[in-house]
Subunit: 301 residues, 2 copies
Amino acid sequence: MKLTILGCYAATPRTLTNPTSQVLEINSHVFLIDCGEGTQVELRRKKIKFSRIRHIFISHLHGDHVFGLIGLVSTFKMLGREAPLNIYGPKGIKEFITLQLKLSNSWTDYPLHFHELTSKNSEMVFEDEKISVRTIPLQHRVYCNGYLFEEKPGERKLILSKVMNYNIDVAYYRSIKKGKDVLLDDGTLIKNETITAPPKPTKSYAFCSDTRYDEAKISLLQNVTVLYHEATFLESHKHLAATTGHSTAIEAGMIAKKSNVDTLILGHFSTRYKDISLFKEEAETVFDAVMVADDGKVFDF
Amino acid sequence: MKLTILGCYAATPRTLTNPTSQVLEINSHVFLIDCGEGTQVELRRKKIKFSRIRHIFISHLHGDHVFGLIGLVSTFKMLGREAPLNIYGPKGIKEFITLQLKLSNSWTDYPLHFHELTSKNSEMVFEDEKISVRTIPLQHRVYCNGYLFEEKPGERKLILSKVMNYNIDVAYYRSIKKGKDVLLDDGTLIKNETITAPPKPTKSYAFCSDTRYDEAKISLLQNVTVLYHEATFLESHKHLAATTGHSTAIEAGMIAKKSNVDTLILGHFSTRYKDISLFKEEAETVFDAVMVADDGKVFDF
């Protein structure tokens, strides 16, 4: 699981800071999450192949999370894309993009599928054999969702020495890996857990931006491997967090702690702060495993 | 008259090239012309004060000329702008911007005036005491206008020695500067041109992008000081220019020659070419005074 931060600063793109966008590579998928202005250039800078992006998840329709989407969609067309593109985001995102395509007279040649969200409850938006993605309803000034990316458990691993010891026929291996017990010809029942080891632990990633402090999402976030949580403000501007629907570093730390996550990554920093290491310092007063995002930074888990 | 090229490359923004946008500073105005994705960052990079931009001229609604506009409009709001902003562009540009503002729930607090264009003839879109701006109808795949920025002639200059020689009363100076003759008390008529010098020569700037080769605009462009003309392709890709509604460097040179302009600046280069000096070489085969634009380049005239 590899997370590439293309941008992690709030409000407007600036000379040295990009608005929100990130790429999650997990189980051969390349998921793009949010798409602020300039995202396509940052993707090029990080040498991420445009053709590998099949799914884009948009949290909400504030400009610093979505103004780069129309450019990316158009560039895909110019590059001769044929593969379908799936865009997940709040209701309105289809009109947002298609009106611009219409007015600029540049319909895409490739299939563009919009998955518009309206629910205030968590829902599954993507699923295949190995991965599921569900929304995390967030509390912001406008309708907003985070996204939870979860690996599905793989098959159990055969302990070959034991399997051979029982002289189990190869034909049973497939069902044993799926967790089935085995009934031998002599009537002996071999319990699955005595001949297999558990599958490789699964990993999960939760993206939560933008959001005010809100404990409702804690049940969804239980035990996730990595939580990216917005921390727009330091404690000194706690009052601004409350009025603008954002979180402080300490509030992000509290959510991480109550959700028992492995690692917290902080992002969406207000550009008023010169030293983002202060976010880490403040969050660490309530939670241990804190990292700070920064534009261009890559995290491997 | 100062021209700052923020971006002058065709199609998509890339790591090292920006789509079309430029700033023309003329007679205390700061005019923004076109606004591809990333323009607001380039404005910051060139330290151009956002508050000085009161008028934005958009040629057409292709993404590489307009996808940065919504971000700039939104950033103006976040910076607390109060001054009105005038946006000139093809019909549809109002819906293009206002729908995005509506869906992102971020109406501007400052007055936003759209001047939507539909005419196929040149028309005056802005005028004050010192400057006029009119459209230059262009032939492209979609409805498209260039813009012609012209200084108005200033007052004629008194030749003080001569004026005093005739003993002309100071009360007449104002009308003399405006070109009036003077009738002396003894009945002598003093012709204006004998006591004044012509005003400072006026300057003009014509922006023509995107356009196929089209001689219809030559009458409008006669004797302009500086012509920026698109040259997307070199001669080797002349067939592409024809099919995509663009021009070659030589075609731009021909327009400059037939319009008798002082200086031609080439821009809107396809990113397929590594060496943009080839555009200058080719255009120079038909016109002498050729310069090439490049991102970040500043021209003083």
